[in-house]
Amino acid sequence: MHVDPFIDPHPNLTPAVLQGLGWLYLVLSVMNVFWCARVLKQDEHVRIRLFGMLGKGVEIPRAASWAIYSSILATIAFMHMSWSSAEYIGKFWLSLTPDGLIESSIDSIVANPVSYFVLSIAGTAMMIFFREWLVKPTVGWIMLNVAILFMALSMTDYDFRQIVGKPDNVPIVALLYLVGGFTWLYFFHAVENDRRLENWDGEGAIPVLNNEDNEKVLVWPDLVYAELICMIAVTTVLIAWGIVLDAPLEEPASSAKTPNPSKAPWYFLGLQEMLVYYDPWLAGVVFPTMIIGGLIAVPYIDFNKVGNGYYVFKQRAFSVITFLFGFLTLWVAMIILGTFLRGPNWNIFGIYEFWDVHKLVALNNVMLSELFWVDLVTPITGFAPEYKNSDPESVKTLMILIREAPGFIALIAYFTVLPPLMAISCLKTFFHRMGFLRYMVFTHFLLMMAALPLKMVLRWTFNLKYLVNIPEWFFNI
């Protein structure tokens, strides 16, 4: 198929894109040359046998496969650069097929809140579970390569570029890679410290990383120079970023023209995503306050005194797991969802999908009170908690409370029955070591945090919109 970039308004490939990708592949190739050198120094070999039976096979250095990979990348880089003129573009083959198998299968996973959320939870859980395998340098390196190759290939899709390339969205791409990288780095250190602590007899200094010759050094020059270099590096990055990428400036403000979608600044998109599941008074006011309050409470809740001053997992498994889920799946993943996947009418779109304003998604949400009264109780008993506008206030209030009783009971049970129940079962030791007040604060913050995923599940399974639905008082939960 011949794509003429001067005619097609949505070209998947343009000379500029191929040029840019050429540079990206070149950088990746050079990175892998360095990696190759590192592997060569370790001097490991692998045995290659043809079809597993032809003789003993040959022994080759492990680095050889990295060398081959680097040279393939270099070739690809060269190919991009030399084919990046308009006449060749139609013949260029290294790109995602529009709506092909890869694109449509990735989109069908991410463009669905259920699979997206399950995936982010499962990803975090697997990372924690397989951490010892994850932190192998080769594994980390391969994952980095896959992440960059995924990005590079996706850039050949017009719709992907539209959303990822928005100037204000570039930092979020950076955030994604930085959070991934630092999480890996954490596990890299934590797994090593776990291993060291396991073999420790408790004598002498604690044998964690950085602590072998943790002598005092003079701040001048050791720290002052490091800071200077760091400042120069940050300044350089900022200036380069500023020159390459213009700050966005759209049309002059107009209160008459509402953009679709209207999005909050990117760092609040996790909160905006909560609006799908909770009303503004919760998603926009109560939960943010709870997040801040919960963070402030962290040092006063965590009674575990070990694990201060070094990266570790096993000694603090509970607090680390809670924090990882909170930060990675409930904050970062929600921001990614809000930024890259939420389109017009707050519908969810795939990363390779065109933002169609007319996409229709059926909504048939129900209230808990409807499920309880209309579907269950009223047909049997004939009683329906309704009121007429002429009724006195006290009757109205009573009817509302009766109508919403199932939701209130569920909520009260959630917050009052679960904490003591956990105190005598799964959180027994916590309760004993924390004392009553601390334990109560802790469990309530924990239940608040769990309220978001729980509501999501209720929405996906029962189409449940509200547990308590009192529009008369602007009170919906």
Partner: protein, 271 residues
């Protein structure tokens, strides 16, 4: 050999330009001690220099290990300084009125020399949000919030909130579509504040003789916007919050944050 040539040879031999400058009265009046080439003067420089005395004279190796601190707190602080400097420069060109705000930003983009300051300011702000999250991430993962550093963690959380608020208030200033609608979406939440928002649960609780005290003209959102919608009063409010109020509070808290790092015994160490 002439006398002057001999003097020249002599001076190049014994005295470099650097030595000459460091020997001058001006230099000595500023720095008051010899260059930090030996141990004694490396200590003295930390004690006598105003900027360096933020630091102790010596620290444990781990405190400066990049693999430990990820340098994220330091970078956040540096970005705060960059934002202050570029922000002051931008203030010379920007007027927070409906008539001029957008025009001034346009001019920064199209005609102003060094208009790239706007880019640096905006990307610096985004970067600061990211680095402050990563800083919190590392402080948590190293357990550095545990005693005796609980309170500094609290100060940190407040700084995190202020960083987000700084970014949020600045978002409105270009006064383009992106700006007002993002602020509209963000501030609409305040309408639903329990008791204090005119669409929040319990707003009827505050009333006098049957008249609601909380209306769209007196609720939490109105306090934030100075108006019933995002308008000129909002621009003025956000401008002052962004350029004066929040930076001052943040600077004060950063000072406390750094003071507490020293008083709590420096960067956390394995015991």
């Amino acid at each position: 050999m002439t006398v002057s040539a001999a003097c020249y040879a002599e001076s190049t031999h014994s005295m470099s330009v650097g030595d000459y400058i460091r020997g001058s009265q001006i230099w000595k009046s500023i720095f008051r001690h010899p260059a930090p080439y030996d141990r004694r003067n490396r200590i003295v420089v930390m004690l006598t220099n105003f900027f360096l005395h933020l630091h102790p004279v010596s620290v444990k190796q781990q405190g400066i290990a990049l693999s430990y601190t990820w340098c994220m707190g330091g970078i956040t602080f540096f970005l705060f300084l960059v934002e202050t400097i570029t922000g002051v420069l931008l203030m010379f060109y920007y007027r927070p009125t409906l008539e001029w705000a957008y025009q001034d930003i346009l001019a920064l983009r199209d005609v102003t020399t060094l208009g790239v300051m706007r880019e640096i300011h905006r990307w610096g702000a985004h970067a600061m949000v990211i680095t402050v999250w990563l800083h919190m991430y590392r402080v948590f993962l190293t357990g550095s919030y545990k005693p005796p550093r609980e309170f500094n963690w609290v100060v940190g959380v407040l700084l995190l909130v202020l960083t987000l608020l700084l970014s949020f208030t600045g978002y409105l200033l270009p006064w383009d579509q992106l700006a007002i609608w993002a602020i509209t979406v963000g501030s609409n939440m305040a309408r639903a504040t329990p008791v204090l928002g005119h669409e929040g649960p319990g707003f009827q609780l505050l009333n006098l003789g049957g008249y609601d005290l909380i209306t769209s003209g007196s609720d939490a959102r109105f306090l934030l916007l100075g108006s019933r919608f995002v308008g000129e009063e909002t621009l003025n409010r956000f401008y002052i919050l962004h350029c004066v109020a929040i930076p001052l509070v943040a600077a004060g808290l950063i000072a406390i944050h750094f003071w507490r790092i020293r008083k709590d015994g420096g960067i956390s160490q394995p015991l």
